[in-house]
Symmetry: C2
Subunit: 144 residues, 2 copies
DNA sequence: TGTAAATAGGATAAAATTATCCGAAATAAA
DNA sequence: TTTATTTCGGATAATTTTATCCTATTTACA
């Protein structure tokens, strides 16, 4: 469903958010360990998120990644996915047609409609805060 | 959502079904042209579908691909996707966790639940016949 | 001021996916 | 029986995605 890059990016963002609530900046090393992702690859993804101003980075000793506490609840999954994968997720036709719309639909256009819109809606409405809180309370997990 | 291979496979299957209703066998060349897919790559995918006994192939002059007319309505999208992409589509966790279930869910497990099940249901219930009929009646299209 | 700790970013490599090429095998028809 | 047509299958290539490595830059602190 998502690319590996996107999976890592989402998990990393949740972990950073979780720590940001406690004013704790986290290092690449700590992130990669916590979400079980390859360190160097994760670094590239975090750079993307920084460029898109979803997370913030601080260089040098005691540096690391953080998210403005007040922004966490307004960051939607959609923004993270878009920063990393672009608009691949919704943009395309299910069967790869260049033109696929109500007037010129691919064979599965109608069948996919509600699935795609539900996915879109989910990504646009779920925010980092709720995901981080579930981790904090032990309801969900970032690895294994 | 699907791999390119899967997209080509689904479109090819629909085109073959369409022709099989009129007892017409179609060649690789005709299929690739009709669904706008690379010929040699499409050949590999068709071989997969033949091995999984979803379509039938006849070698030699006047050979080509066909589907048993009586089977068309019972062939589900799910079978085609499975033959080509394996169980990647549902099997995995949305965030790539090795273990992801009700007891040990990833952060988006609940959020994805209905989307995944709707997708699963759609693939398991839509059959080749309905897709082929929509092409036949000009409601949907295989290319552009 | 020097050093250790971090992120940034370019170059490169590995793996997976997509795509092409070519000879072998099968088959219908001349 | 020969020839043209067509799928089969192995080898290879191109592209994209995933992953690694190394150096530069920044920063805190001794």
């Amino acid at each position: 469903m998502f690319s590996k890059a996107c999976e890592y990016g989402i998990k990393a963002s949740i972990f950073i958010a979780l720590n940001s609530y406690q004013e704790k900046r986290v290092s690449l090393k700590a992130i990669a360990k916590e979400v079980a992702s390859p360190e160097a690859f994760t670094a590239k993804i975090l750079q993307d998120l920084v460029r898109h101003e979803i997370i913030n980075s601080v260089k040098g000793a005691h540096g690391g990644f953080e998210i403005d506490k007040n922004k966490i609840s307004s960051i939607k999954l959609e923004q993270i996915v878009y920063a990393i994968d672009g608009n691949k997720i919704y943009s395309g036709c299910g069967l790869g047609l260049e033109i696929c719309n109500e007037l010129h639909p691919c064979p599965v256009h109608e069948k996919f409609k509600s699935i795609r819109s539900e996915l879109k809606n989910m990504l646009e409405t779920t925010n980092l805060e709720e995901l981080a809180l579930d981790i904090k309370s032990g309801i969900s997990f970032l690895k294994i």
